[in-house]
Symmetry: C2
Subunit: 460 residues, 2 copies
């Protein structure tokens, strides 16, 4: 494809994407296709000769669309959002077009310096500790996912701990995300303790310290604790401040997973929920969940970059570099598992500039307002009970007639194809998660969801 | 930004990218900026109110361009290529526009099924073992980088090994990529043996077995060996077949790193260099190096997907999806560290279709032809000596007058700004790597490079 053809096809594809965003609302949210249906539309072998781009692009409609579950539909109330925005898509396009590598500062200084600047912006925007800025002892880096950041934090904690790996213990609440268990396993740590939660599903810090002391008595070495600001089940918030004190007392690395709720902190009224961050060791949140930045875009901050870099650095002769050795620059290669990295910050930079801080605050508050409005309807209907308070933009509820009524309702909602919610289980009871946060979800979408719920929930 | 504005700005950005690709050849390859120069152009705080996109986009020229090292310049002869193509950029745009999540089959079946189909295509295209297809016991997955795939392989090997982690030993050649050492360290394995190489810088398989036997005698447990097809230093090729036999005899997991050279195997004449793959356990190569697919796009294959899924799944056995293990439904969440994943295969699918297998073969052969032509010039000039044979498209040479002449030459070449090469060290001697593989590198670019070398290399 020549660059002249790229212009022509690129314009057509931009228009196709715009049409998709304009019409995705009318698509069934959950793909209706059967296993193997998409694959059966793809030839068994790659073509020997090149195909016309118009034919390739036509397969977006013919092959891809029937197999998409539409995370960008404003009727998306499932999982957490993985929202996006037109300006973010353009940022990804620019990054792909430049195709620069940011493994070292020198391999494209702008890739590194824009990232440093934008993550420092976010420290201020989210009310995070100033010492996490690149100008302080800490620093931030963009990774692919919160799973990667949590795994990285656990590896650094493991290396920093003096005890043999087989004696190390990691702690998190029984409501923590599966990525904690996965990270612990991948890091080769054998013991993970799931700490009990209180009636709001937040970690019980007394129970945490009790278990730590018992492990110490048994000759084990507590090496890390992962607390959560906004759990996946119900957006519960662990008592970060109290957990931090216990972690410091006993020498544990304290990592905070704020994958979803981190974005809310751009609104000062939520920041009481992150008290104590000034005493944690690392922190992660996902702009690709709720900050209008398309996947992937995860941010990982450390309070002190030294142990991270010490764990991750390997310098072979062909990667030795004058600027790096002087220490005057950041080489992000030494901040994560992978070596190569694309211009990851470009789309986030563009999103923050295009919306402005006020614009992002507006949309976040609007999502929270919609969630509280929805919560009020749940509270006002005697068929339903809330499972947890609505702290952010997730509403968790169940049908009070019991398991079958709740599960049947979730199935009926999703069977309409018009919206999508997630069912989950807590305290051995099923419940329904209504997660609000897709970029273009507005009052009418939530109203329509409510009508579907109202119509399908059995009377008592 | 409305979708109407997205159309308008998207067209303008497509044109900007096309202009970039049309003119990148005229830019200094290596960014000439000083540390901090780019950051000084970025305000200290995010804007409170949104900015106009035209201003944001203008900063591509004002802020970004001075800080780019141009990996997409046809004058790029440094590191390995990280090449791209217009159609790949469009694939990334489409993927970003759809912004679907492929963590589970159900969260967007097309994301998973296109990936399975395209990776099965590649098994045939590259002459890899048929059993690696999704229809067999193996399977492939797209990850971010070869570092991630190698780390994943080492974690699976570690878990599969019966010995405690502190007794496990991993082996690779002293020419292996730094990602092996890094992966070993991140996986928590203490012992890595760097095996000697022969005079072509390929692993000495006799030395490998000798070290394995010594470790066994000492009560250690060899758990994995990583061999390389196309080392970073000189594109040396380890004897995969012999290493496989030794690995099988002693129960080691055998992972193959073909990050760069894997692409060459689309041309049957190179496949003798991958003999023995039918006995290895895992394999990785990077379409984002030499297959015209912009970073990131790494492929990881396993001969048997069961141990990989067992290691990476956090779903307890009683919830495990039978269909997933049989191959009819794949949940890629269980194939790597991260949970979320974008529509990774779309751009690779488009590249393979747009070029066709014949098109990719043509360009790969052309790069190899250019490299051999350049090698002939080196051989024909008494100032230079080859450091290693040119197996693919990398030429490694030094100035025979010694260290200073070689290092001075490398510095002088890059100081022109017109081209970029990498200097490295092997056997304690410096040498220069000329790596050919950028998408639009042609004879005239290599001729210009030769003229620069000829002009700057001191006479004997």
């Amino acid at each position: 494809m020549s660059t002249a053809e790229f212009r022509m096809h690129g314009h057509a594809l931009v228009d196709w994407v715009a049409n998709y965003l304009d019409t995705v609302e009318d698509q069934p949210v959950l793909s209706q296709c059967d296993p193997g249906a998409i694959r059966s539309l793809i030839p068994e072998h790659a073509p020997e000769d090149g195909e016309e781009f118009t034919d390739i692009m036509a397969d977006l409609d013919r092959v891809v669309m029937p197999g998409l579950t539409h995370w960008q539909s404003p009727n998306w109330f499932s999982y957490f959002p993985a929202n996006s925005s037109p300006v973010s898509v353009l940022g990804e396009l620019a990054s792909a077009g430049l195709a620069s590598q940011g493994m070292l500062w020198s391999t494209s200084p702008a890739v590194t310096e824009v990232e440093c600047a934008v993550l420092d912006w976010l420290v201020d925007l989210l009310g995070l500790p100033k010492s996490w800025k690149m100008t302080g002892p800490g620093g931030g880096v963009i990774q692919m996912s919160a799973s990667d950041s949590t795994h990285t934090a656990l590896v650094v904690a493991r290396e920093r701990c003096n005890a043999p790996i087989d004696l190390q213990v990691v702690y998190t609440s029984n409501q923590a995300h599966s990525s904690i268990e996965k990270g612990v396993r991948i890091a080769g740590i054998k013991e993970l303790r799931l700490i009990d939660v209180d009636d709001r599903f937040a970690m019980d810090s007394v129970a945490f310290e009790t278990v730590v002391l018992r492990d110490l008595d048994n000759g084990l070495t507590p090496s890390a604790v992962v607390s959560t600001i906004g759990t996946t089940g119900t957006t519960a918030v662990d008592p970060v401040e109290r957990i931090s004190s216990i972690a410091r007392k006993h020498g544990l690395w304290h990592h905070v997973d704020a994958a979803y709720a981190g974005t809310a902190m751009i609104c000062p009224e939520f920041r009481y929920l992150q008290d104590g961050l000034n005493k944690v060791d690392s922190y992660t949140f996902n702009p690709h969940k709720w900050m209008f930045t398309n996947f992937d875009c995860n941010v990982f901050w450390v309070a002190d970059r030294k142990p991270l870099i010490e764990t991750m650095t390997i310098v072979p002769p062909y990667l030795r570099d004058k600027a790096s050795e002087s220490g005057s620059v950041v080489d992000y290669r030494d901040w994560h598992v992978s070596l190569g990295r694309r211009f990851r910050s470009l789309k986030l930079w563009w999103v923050l500039r295009s919306y402005g801080a006020a614009g992002i605050r507006y949309h976040v508050r609007e999502h929270v307002r919609l969630a509280r409005d929805f919560e009020a309807r749940i509270l006002g209907d005697s068929r339903f009970a809330l499972v947890a308070p609505t702290l952010f933009s997730l509403v968790s509820f169940r049908h009070i007639s019991g398991e079958k009524a709740t599960i049947d309702l979730a199935v009926a909602i999703n069977a309409t194809g018009k919206v999508m919610v997630t069912s989950s289980i807590i305290n051995e009871q099923s419940f329904i998660r209504v997660s609000i946060g897709q970029t273009r979800t507005e009052q009418n979408h939530v109203d329509a969801l409510w009508s579907i719920i109202d119509a399908h929930a059995i009377r008592r």
